[in-house]
Assembly symmetry: C2
Homo-oligomer: 369 residues x 2
């Protein structure tokens, strides 16, 4: 893999991950005004959480027609975000970031400081990861060597972003499908480098610490062992990975994929684990697309260790979840979920696990297990 970094016309960084020893010139001929992110984090004292308030994202690109796709290579003089005629995997800073180093430029604290409303610039970084130069398809339709290159790019970005002084947590994820608001169809994911440990992660590690204090054991290890023992919700086992529908799944479709070995984050995965991950995640995502006879809208979220805390407790894993509950029905977050945090799941996890296993069994490419 050759890694080449350059700059876009407005100063944003772009990084090419090439399988071959490809030379990149990276000359962005567009005229782009520099981006200054007008982004702030504000403390919600009742929920004890940070909320990001961004004033510059309302105008972001919304479902452009294919020939204006900003994630395709630059060809026939039509300039995209990628100023090269082709690429394998490419990563660049989001033009409409929720978190960015530039958020600190010119930021001033509110005139009347109030201890109840702590406000800070939303420093950090948001990146876009293009999985392939082909506009059509999805992660699930990538050849396995391409999926492997994406894994290597994710791992490299995690290493680089973890080294930034303001970054507390690196979140690698993919939003897929217009049903969950995806505004660009080209196969891509995102990376958020947050300046704080997120609420979900903070709660998870509070649970893990309490479990260690009480039992001396690792909570994630015990969760995976309990699922393997119960069997009924396990959907996939490969040499290095295990996937299951969790016993308390929140979403109609929800699958967690854990490496068998405890590792804190993607960079810590070995060669064999990465190759197996590429294969296993393709099998899993193809099966999920087969569940309802229609491409599944999903969020695929990598849970990595925070950069500076709880790394001894952490156990890297991927969570894929979907709001689809039937071919023509979606699960909405209404009062109970959005206002009280109580999820109602209409599909028993054991039933969904059986359906995912059946879908994997129908996949002629699935040799895992």
């Amino acid at each position: 893999m050759r890694i080449t970094s350059g700059r876009l016309a407005d100063g944003r960084e772009i990084i090419f991950y090439d399988r071959a020893d490809t030379a990149r010139r990276i000359v962005d001929r567009r005229e782009l005004a520099p981006v200054t992110a007008s982004a702030e984090i504000r403390r919600d004292v009742l929920a004890d959480e940070w909320v990001a308030v961004t004033a510059h994202r309302q105008t972001r690109t919304h479902l452009p027609p294919p020939r204006q796709c900003p994630l395709c290579p630059t060809v026939d003089g039509r300039a995209s975000e990628i100023p090269e005629p082709d690429y394998d995997v490419v990563v660049f800073e989001n033009r409409f970031p929720s978190f960015a180093a530039s958020a600190a430029d010119g930021w001033e604290p509110p005139a009347a400081a109030d201890p109840l409303s702590d406000r800070r610039p939303a420093v950090g970084r948001c990146e876009v990861v293009c999985f392939t130069s082909s506009h059509d398809g999805s992660f699930a339709t990538l050849p396995s060597e391409q999926a492997r290159l994406v894994v290597d790019a994710w791992a490299d970005r995690t290493t680089v972003l973890s080294s930034l002084p303001d970054v507390a947590q690196v979140f690698v994820f993919e939003n897929r499908g217009a049903e969950i608001g995806v505004t660009l169809h080209h196969p891509h994911g995102q990376i958020y480098a947050y300046p704080f440990v997120t609420p979900t992660t903070a709660t998870m590690f509070a649970s893990a610490r309490a479990h260690r204090d009480r039992t001396g054991r690792n909570l994630f290890a015990d969760v995976v062992a309990a699922e393997l023992r119960a069997e009924v919700r396990v959907v996939l086992q490969s040499e290095h990975w295990v996937a299951f529908v969790p016993v308390a799944a929140r979403w109609p479709v929800e699958v967690h994929l854990y490496p068998r070995r405890q590792v804190p984050d993607l960079p810590a995965l070995g060669e064999q684990e990465r190759a197996d991950l590429a294969e296993s995640s393709l099998v899993l995502l193809r099966a999920l697309d087969g569940l309802f006879g229609t491409p599944l809208p999903y969020v695929a979220a990598w849970h990595q260790a925070p950069v500076r805390s709880d790394r001894d407790l952490a156990w890297l894993h991927l969570r894929v979840s979907s709001i689809r509950r039937a071919p023509d029905k979606l699960k909405y977050l209404a009062g109970s979920e959005s206002a009280m945090g109580v999820f109602i799941n209409d599909i028993p996890p054991e039933d969904m696990a059986a359906r995912v296993r059946a879908a994997i069994g129908n996949d002629p490419l699935a040799s895992v297990g």
Copy 2:
């Protein structure tokens, strides 16, 4: 107000709240099989939360045509859920409940008990509150005396449900709009009586306790005082109520409505506070419908004190929030929100407050303030 309780054909309770001294016969002539809720709560040990898993709700009624509306009165021999030819406000047990006393009937713990996967029957109660017998319109279009009757019904249900032995928290709410998955258009709300204190509420009171320990003061009082002092996010002030967009709003549209006096829940509101609430909430909801030139999809959520804890700290309030961020755009909960709990709000709360104030100013019926 006259309150009359009866039973539907399948044993569910129905309660009429009538302004006049109306006699009710309540004879449901339908043939309905008894409902047994197949509902369970399961502990998510990583998130330290209960999730409800329900197997019987997938077939629930989905956007029926108006003449099959189950919330209209029973007229012309067409039987609805309300076996009377008219009503003022009526409440009945949900036929597709997420929580119900019947969830305990026949429930058995999993064969292989696992300390990591605590599972229990989802006891509790789910009710539907019909705001008016008129099929069209919404809460915002109710006459104020009708809104007042709804407030009295909410308060009475809170008192009754709080007295049930399994109930830990009573959640009164309205989901409005197909955009958030509402399956019946007839103006109505819901009540969930949970067998546990919800995650949002538990966190809120942990914050309030920590604040009291640190400062000796009530956190909610300090939040309201800070918003009144800052002024810029306040949208409405009446004799007994104050409404503002919170400094760390999560949603493009989000307004919190607090009584000026500390009360734990709806039953604790006095006569004048209830009358003022009816007027003020109508002004507020009409203004929200005016924001984008289209009826606003929203969740209106009453945050009440838990039944048996933190009642001295609690401060009743209503939170109205919407996923609409533009006339033709919705806010989706994608990776950052749904997987990490980090909300990104593209509309600064100060901007939204100015827009809500302008919408209230344009309402010829708005005499509050």
